[in-house]
């Protein structure tokens, strides 16, 4: 469904006022769902392959409590992992940028750490942290911090060294240069990374919930999968997609507010 929305957004806009602009995404979404519903009914697609959107909606409405508590739990894990991953990612980027030797020593290790499949890593996390919200946040953190580090470093490198020399000649300290030049210069790149990290953090939280838990979207997904409850799988996918889009939009909104000058240099 996110695909439909994305393609709708990329269509040329014939603006006929604000009202239309506001309801346009909803219109397109409704139309898209209606088309899917009609396709499933017309071609008699079996529900094991693709259930009707109305059946998926009915499934969510039938047990809203499970989806709401699952959503809330996953939101908490994702938020915790995302914030920790972003802060850590930026901090490491600053350290690596300031001390090149450290980057040469440790950056390869960071890259290696990302090649370990989360599935292999998850069992260890449960062993260490038990079935806590914190354990899921750790997995979420683990897969979201590296894009932030890489992109922030890229942003730092885009700084014109002459600007830094000029600041230094005025007697600016390292901290000032970081705050006034490096961080603002890295912001556009950083937000690219944060958008990526928001989706990754969600994936991390959902996968984290596969390691023995009682609530969360990951648990619902797993339960539906192993009971061959296809409608349930789709219902969870829809809820997860909504959450993913929500997180992404939040980061995009923050980007529009903070990086008001855009990506131009």
């Amino acid at each position: 469904m996110s695909g439909i929305k994305a393609s709708a957004a990329s269509l040329p806009v014939f603006s006929t006022g604000r009202v239309y602009a506001a309801i346009k995404p909803i219109l397109w979404l409704t139309l898209g769902l209606a088309v899917i519903e009609a396709t499933v009914v017309l071609f008699e697609i079996r529900p094991y392959y693709l259930p009707r959107p109305s059946a998926i909606a009915a499934n969510i409405v039938a047990t809203p409590g499970a989806y709401i508590s699952g959503l809330w739990r996953t939101v908490l894990e994702t938020a915790l992992g995302f914030v920790a991953g972003s802060v850590f990612g930026v901090a490491i980027a600053i350290v690596f940028h300031r001390w090149t030797l450290l980057r040469e020593l440790f950056f390869p290790l960071f890259v290696v750490s990302q090649t370990i499949p989360v599935i292999a890593f998850g069992a260890v996390v449960v062993l260490w942290f038990g079935n806590t919200l914190f354990a899921k946040a750790v997995i979420s953190f683990y897969i979201s911090f590296l894009p932030v580090t890489v992109n922030t470093l890229l942003g730092f490198n885009s700084v014109d060294p002459r600007q830094v020399q000029l600041m230094r000649s005025f007697g600016a300290k390292d901290g000032q240069i970081l705050r006034r030049i490096y961080l603002p210069a890295a912001l556009p790149q950083l937000f690219v990374a944060l958008k990526l990290a928001s989706s990754l953090a969600l994936v991390g939280a959902i996968v984290g919930e596969w390691f023995g838990d009682t609530t969360g979207l990951g648990v619902l997904l797993l339960q539906a999968m192993y009971n061959e409850n296809v409608v349930g799988i789709w219902a969870t996918i829809v809820v997860s997609a909504c959450l993913g889009m929500g997180l992404y939009s939040l980061v995009a909104l923050a980007e529009r507010r903070i990086v008001f000058w855009g990506n131009e240099q």
Partner: protein, 341 residues
């Protein structure tokens, strides 16, 4: 603000988790209530109803245990979590996983066997090419490579079919390939996959091949503790078993309420499927020696046959010392009439 509170809560939870290491069964308060956890082999479902009933009805509390039930998941090995002390008790895969763990030197002991018979069967279409075990030759079969594959090999060998002559593939989550007749024989647990297959193909259109009919038995769903718990806190193990048995008897006596308790925890489950599951689990739990000796009885003969089977196929390097791996002294302390349904 909210975020900070959550961070703090998470840290607190993590601290408790860390504290639980190795001493999760240490006395928690002056009232002599002991904290303990039970790690299941899978997510909450009717397969584990008795434990949830015992928890809900306070049977563990009555025995002085403050029990937490932790669900399992893919890639989580219950034996591992129990051996390291992360969890006190475990309902693990079965005799197969206990043997494998013992073979690797993990200090876990089985204190009770839940499913007295092989809980899975092999299924073929009645209008298909497989009508008897001999027909498995050259056919497409899917099974789980966690032990079921060896049961299959043993069944084939008994009728003189070389297991290599059948096209045996690892089985994925879905039984759809079987329903669509892309494969000839599928493996199904009586309490889960068989329900889905019955629903989609029809009970009367299926042939079932039962391992016990071929003289192969593979008891599963084993209750385990670490060797340390078994030697240092035998009374805890005994009390846990007593409460669990009581919970299971209650679950079978009042199935509707048991399903209610499960559905309250996992509301998205299909109620009809859960009811079917509880009925099938009951059949498995009271089969064989459990019909006379009661729930969780360790049938050394059945367990021994699984031991020999696994050693024969080289899954374990040599037969495991049965008396060390399976300790029936705890469950035997509970009188049979208390354990029988």
């Amino acid at each position: 603000m909210l975020n900070r509170r959550n961070v703090l809560a998470a840290f607190a939870a993590a601290a408790i988790g860390l504290q639980g290491f190795g001493m999760s069964a240490a006395p928690a308060s002056a009232q002599d209530i002991i904290d303990a956890s039970l790690r299941l082999k899978w997510l909450t479902q009717a397969q584990f109803a008795g434990f949830y009933v015992a928890l809900e009805k306070g049977y563990y509390k009555e025995e002085g245990i403050n029990l937490t039930i932790n669900p399992g998941g893919p890639n989580l090995l219950t034996e591992n979590l129990v051996a390291t002390g992360a969890d006190t008790f475990g309902l693990s895969g079965g005799t197969d996983s206990v043997f494998a763990a013992r073979d690797k030197g993990m200090p876990v002991v089985c204190i009770g066997v839940s499913h007295q018979q092989t809980p899975f069967v092999f299924v073929s279409h009645k209008d298909g090419s497989v009508q008897k075990v001999e027909d498995f030759k050259d056919r497409k079969i899917t099974t789980w490579f966690t032990g079921a594959n060896h049961v299959l090999s043993a069944m084939l060998s008994k009728v003189g079919v070389d297991p290599k002559s059948a096209d045996i593939q690892p089985q994925q989550v879905s039984v759809t390939p079987f329903v669509d007749k892309q494969i000839d024989v599928v493996t199904a647990t009586r309490y889960n996959e068989l329900y889905v297959i019955n629903q989609r193909v029809g009970k009367d259109n299926l042939n079932l091949f039962v391992p016990e009919d071929s003289g192969v038995s593979f008891p599963r769903d084993t209750l385990i503790v670490s060797e340390q718990t078994a030697t240092e806190k035998p009374e805890l193990v005994e009390r846990f078993l007593r409460a669990s048995v009581k919970g299971w008897k209650e679950a079978f006596a009042n199935e509707k309420e048991a399903i209610d308790i499960i559905m309250k925890i996992a509301p998205t489950l299909d109620r009809a499927q859960q009811e079917f599951m509880l009925k099938e689990v009951k059949t498995l739990m009271v089969a064989g020696k459990a019909s006379t000796d009661g729930l969780f009885t360790i049938d050394k003969a059945a367990v021994g046959s699984a031991n020999d089977l696994l050693a024969q196929y080289g899954v374990i390097s040599k037969p495991v010392d049965l008396d060390k791996a399976f300790n029936s002294s705890f469950i035997d302390k509970i009188p049979a009439e208390e354990k029988r349904l």
